[in-house]
Amino acid sequence: MELLGAIVAPFLPPLLDGVARKVKALIQNRMGPSIFQTWYDIITLLSMEPTLPTGSLAFRLAPYIALASALCMAFMLPYGSNSIINFGGDLIAFIYVFTLFSAALVFGALSVENSYSHAGANRELTLSLVFKPLFTITIGIFALKTGSLSITQIAHSISPSLSIVGAYLLLLYVAYVEAGFIPYDIAEAETEILEGPLSEYSGRLLGLLKWALQIKRFAMIWLFASFVTLPIAEGVFAFVLQMMVFLLAYLLMVTYESLNARYRLDQAMNQGMKGIVIGAVLTIIAWLGW
């Protein structure tokens, strides 16, 4: 069952991005591109030879590492009841593979002499300084209530309580931010800094990076969907339910994204800080037993 994830994780996300563009277009009262447009874009990019602005090995290697870590993240999640890569404490490994993804992006961006790339790298790291702790606090609440740090084990043993509901909402927020939807796509801002870390990439390397970003987005929202559905379902039914919850959450996020403008870095940080305070309060509530 979980091997279905090996097909879903790499090949579904660009299709979802196409759906997102269609939804955004419909909200903005235009036709928009076809659902497969993102796939067409990625395939075109993958077939083109890149132009390298620097001979640095880090620049060339970064998209491959980013793709590998995004796939690893996706493979650590459950499809149905089990996941492909599964071990105790893999929620921490999930966070750190995410860190590897950011690190690869940042190392690649810093290897080229372009102020926009550097600005994008800076923003990527600054955002992670606030939102990784928020993610950790959310995980801390789940770990306190379920006594485990394994994704599948937490997903199967969540029982509803006040702090868990709060933790779900926080997880939804963190998934939204880390997926890089519009109020928070500060690092890869298209219009402000020419796509930030991606600006000097072209051709095949750009295609790989875009694909990796889509897979990362998928992984974060699938994590949320797993935590919501797996306590109440098993096997194939769980997978179908996960897919439905995921699509619902994705569509809601895309709709919210279409109605918003991008935050400045300090505004996003303030939101993150407020989230951390709420998370700390929720942790205390969880420790008190509710």
Binding site: L46, E49, P50, T51, L52, P53, T54, G55, S56, A58, L61, Y64, I65, A68, S69, L71, F75, I85, F87, G88, G89, I92, I95, Y96, T99, A103, V106, F107, L110, V112, E113, N114, S115, Y116, H118, A121, L125, T126, S128, L129, V130, K132, P133, T136, I137, G140, A143, L144, G147, L149, E200, G203, R204, L205, L208, L265, M269, T283, I284, W287
Partner: protein
């Protein structure tokens, strides 16, 4: 104890022939290798010197720390052979430094412990003042010496003295499990946290480590700080009743983690940044130790493994990073973050820096991840809110560490703005050993765990407490994805200049002090508070010395001196008249005899 002999020979050579850096370095490397080999097979020796019995024996923990000292000694000595500039006694002090650290962990009673501890402090002081003509070094070395003796040696001596006066012996095996007064454990805690650089007493670390030559900084930051952890583990293992200090230790450790990581972010000097990062990592070690004391059963084992693995990992990557900063300093003469473009002329340094940076940020599949993963397991699953808070702060600090070290990566990219050259082969060899260990310990962490006899199931993975992390499989999966993608979608080298929309890059270049501004503001506030506290202290000192109190002893002894002065004046006057002098002398003698008779109880 062949290694001790080799170290002593090396230090004698260093003493007699002050310029033979290569010989001393290579001999020290050989001696460290001998230390590792002997420690693996166990050491059990007793010597009688000047009537004192010195016994050296390895048990599980001391064997592990011996191997740690040996590994770092080997790598840094190879580096030293090409790097260190011999000045005054520092060549002799170098071998003595490593030898004293090895003997600290091998000693079997507190007497040897404190003797070699003090020897280590003195040797490290000599090494720190290598560049004694630099004003910065003078200030830093005084802070180091005073802080070490006031906060480290003094409490340790008090504690050891109390143990001796209560039990009459200082031997570990006799003292195993005896109950000591709680204040003794507090004194030990104070002594060891000041050596390790934990929050209230961490101020000496960012001053002392940057001014020392880079190989010495590597040993100070990587290995000497572990001696404090070793001492604390010893005390916790010997004496029951350490629950009293556990909570305080965890609170201080959490503060240290936060402060060290934030302060590392705002530094402009490479070595100071790394020194603050060491402070941060020592916080992790004490957090793990506190968790070890506070938890029980499975989580206790996890915390213990986390503690020892992180000691190894930090030793390896911090030594590596400091030696790489030495490469940069040696090649360019600068250690600030304004350097650019060193990657072109120093490719090996750049690659090993990436390995070091990824290790310190705990990115899988390198070694830093394993120990951090274990720390998170121990803290998050503990159901204790203090420890869970510690886990959250750890992750925050982990992200801050990545951000801080990215600034160091930046010096290797871009167009060069200084002349540079790659480091000498021996220097690179020392660093390559540690870089290799970083990767190996990340993929096969079970090997390290085997040395401490912690049961982790299969030696190729870490399986503890129901959680199995197969690092090899994980690294293999990542690598296979990368290789598959690289084979399916390769890139040809098709070079061109960067397109920056036509704007000149240097005008809009992002300076390191402007990176991470929202968080860096906190760091600036923290350093501002630190400066205010220092200002208060120094203003008190200025007030005190401005008073015409002069010396303290003058106040105490002045009246007596004035009395003697007055008496001698009177006698001088009297001597001008002989009769009067004889009369006074007779009177004085009579008074003395009378006083003594009264005192003896005769009258």
């Amino acid at each position: 104890m062949l290694f001790a002999l080799l170290f002593i020979i090396a230090s004698i050579i260093g003493l007699i022939k002050r310029e033979q850096v290569k010989i001393v370095g290579l001999l020290s490397a050989l001696a460290s290798l001998a230390l590792v080999v002997e420690a693996l097979s166990g050491i059990d020796a007793t010597y009688s010197i000047l009537g004192l019995e010195f016994a050296f024996m390895t048990d599980t923990i001391s064997r592990y720390f011996c191997i740690l000292v040996g590994i770092s000694g080997l790598a840094v000595s190879l580096y030293t052979a090409e790097y260190m500039e011999p000045r005054h006694l520092n060549l002799a002090a170098y071998s003595v430094f490593i030898l004293s650290m090895a003997l600290i962990v091998l000693s079997r009673d507190f007497l040897e412990f404190i003797i070699f501890w003090e020897l280590m402090t003195i040797a490290s002081y000599v090494l720190i003042v290598t560049y004694y003509d630099n004003t910065e070094t003078k200030k830093a070395s005084i802070i180091y010496l005073v802080a070490m003796h006031a906060f480290n040696t003094a409490p340790l001596l008090l504690a050891i003295g109390a143990i001796y006066s209560q039990f009459g012996t200082l031997d570990y095996s006799t003292l195993q499990g005896v109950y000591v007064p709680t204040w003794v454990i507090w004194a030990f805690l104070l002594g060891f946290i000041s050596k390790a650089g934990i929050f209230p007493v961490h101020f000496w670390l960012p001053e002392a480590h940057p001014v020392a030559p880079s190989n010495v900084s590597a040993l100070l930051s990587g290995t000497m700080l572990k001696m404090a952890i070793y001492g604390m583990i010893r005390v916790v293992e010997l004496f029951p009743g350490s629950e009293a200090i556990a909570r305080t230790m965890v609170v201080l450790a959490i503060l240290t983690i936060a402060i060290g990581a934030i302060m590392a972010l705002v530094q402009k000097d490479i070595k100071r940044l790394m020194a603050y990062s060491s402070v941060d990592n020592m916080g992790y070690l004490f957090l793990a130790l506190g968790a070890y004391i506070m938890l029980d059963r499975v989580l206790k084992k996890i915390a213990f493994l986390a503690l020892l693995l992180h000691a190894f990992n930090h030793l390896v990557f911090k030594n590596l990073l400091f030696m790489l900063s030495g490469n940069v300093l040696h090649a360019t003469g600068r250690k600030d973050l304004e350097l650019r473009g060193l990657g072109k002329k120093m490719p090996f340094t750049a690659v090993m820096s990436v390995v070091g940076i990824l290790s310190v940020s705990a990115v899988p599949p390198l070694n830093g991840f394993i120990s951090k993963w274990l720390i998170y397991q121990a803290t998050f699953l503990s159901k204790d809110p203090l420890l869970v808070g510690g886990g959250v702060i750890s992750l925050f600090a982990s992200a801050l560490t990545l951000a801080a070290y990215i600034k160091i990566y930046r010096i290797f990219t871009g167009e060069p703005n200084v002349e540079a050259h790659e480091a000498a082969p021996l220097m690179l060899a020392g660093e390559a050993i540690l870089a290799f260990l970083c990767v190996v310990a990340g993929i096969f962490p079970g090997i390290i765990a085997r040395i401490i006899n912690v049961d982790v199931g299969n030696p190729w993975l870490i399986s503890i407490g129901g959680a199995t992390f197969n690092a090899l499989l994980f690294a293999g999966t990542l690598c296979s994805f990368i290789i598959a993608a690289a084979i399916a979608l390769p890139t040809k080298k098709n070079l061109d200049a960067p397109w920056t929309t036509g704007e000149p890059v240097d005008e809009f270049e992002q300076k390191p002090e402007h990176m991470f501004t929202p968080i860096a503001k906190f760091g600036k506030k923290l350093s501002f508070i630190g400066e205010r506290i220092e200002e208060r202290f120094s203003s008190f000192e200025r007030w005190y010395s401005s008073k015409d109190l002069g010396y303290l002893d003058e106040i105490m002894f002045m009246p007596v001196i004035k009395l003697i002065e007055g008496t001698s004046y009177v006698i001088k006057e009297l001597s001008k008249n002989l009769n009067a002098l004889l009369a006074v002398t007779f009177l004085v003698l009579f008074t003395i005899v009378l006083t003594m008779a009264v005192l003896a109880g005769v009258i």
